[in-house]
Symmetry: C2
Subunit: 204 residues, 2 copies
């Protein structure tokens, strides 16, 4: 895929206030890029929009990130929360509720929303998708699978349910729930999904 060049958007605010340099300015731009991505999506994201949100000028962006996808990759690396440790409650049901609740909470952050919108864009550069998969989707899938493996060792999970496909059921249901009218996924919803859908599928 050809690199997507920056395109013009609404005029941004001029730089104002105290002059930030180096890391502080860089982090302000990365946070602004995530907010822009979450609100308008990858395709409609503009250099003016990001500069205005970061209260800086376009030159500060172009100097650091000549192409849009470079900024997006850096912004995602900066903002996406690390995976955290796999919960170990001793019950596969409770491990899954913990894991999926943390996942649902992450999706609702600006970085999570930005990530989701990125996956829905058809113009997304491969290096962006790799960042999202490598940092977020891959590790979380591995944790879900590991929770099933532990459950199988304890005899709570039938061994042939320990598959990549089965491990994804809970997260697929959460994503579908979010896609419906953008409803919040609270703990009650996660428990309903785990108890009505995931657990009946795991039981020996």
């Amino acid at each position: 895929m050809a690199h997507q060049q920056w395109h013009c958007g609404p005029a941004g605010c001029p730089p104002h206030g105290k002059r930030r340099r180096g890391e502080a300015l860089e982090q302000a731009i990365l946070a602004a890029a995530v907010r822009e991505l979450a609100e308008v999506g990858y395709d409609a994201m503009t250099v003016e929009g990001v500069a205005a949100r970061a209260h800086t000028g376009k030159a500060a962006l172009y100097r650091r990130w000549p192409a849009k996808e470079d900024l997006v990759v850096d912004a995602l690396h900066f903002m996406l929360p690390p995976c955290g440790a796999l919960p170990d409650t001793g019950s596969v049901r409770d491990d899954l509720v913990e894991l999926l609740s943390a996942m649902a909470a992450t999706i609702r952050t600006p970085a999570g929303t930005a990530m989701q919108r990125m996956l829905g864009s058809q113009r997304c550069a491969p290096e962006i998708l790799e960042t999202v998969h490598g940092k977020v989707i891959g590790p979380r899938r591995e944790m879900l699978l590991e929770a099933l493996r532990r459950g199988a060792q304890r005899g709570e999970v039938r061994p042939d349910a320990v598959t990549v496909l089965v491990a994804q059921v809970g997260s697929a249901m959460i994503l579908q729930h979010l896609a419906d009218d953008d409803r919040p996924v609270d703990r009650r919803v996660v428990e309903e999904i785990v108890d009505q859908v995931v657990m009946p599928l795991l039981r020996p």
Copy 2:
């Protein structure tokens, strides 16, 4: 939510060729709107982009659809395929494979892609979401649930698995599969989802 006004984009092609009027021009515009939605998404969609794809001028669009969401609602009504009849193979497994394969095929059409991107946009007007739910999501969910009900009457499905949540598992897995690298969902993938995930969940 306030109505989103059209905003400027790249200059569109001037009208050319034979002059179309009335229904022919209208349908060309609706089809162009769906292609634009599928390719650039709702937020980045512009009146110039749609006019260029339809080989017409902006005035032809503004005259018919003063606001962006009016055009989008009409375009979705025009392009989204009707639901079709509920398959009745006599086996819940085969009914679900048929239904979910048809669903996966619909999602891959330009109208299906447009619809998905719409659901991912945070600026989507309520009347657009209502159109998508009323015409596509609602009727298909009802068919999935009806397939489970029939299966329960035949003794193939445990009665307490006939729930809205369980009925959505197959479609949630298909959507998640599509979100991953935009991989195609062929019949083999649908059968894997039904056999490894949905059927173990339904069995009495």
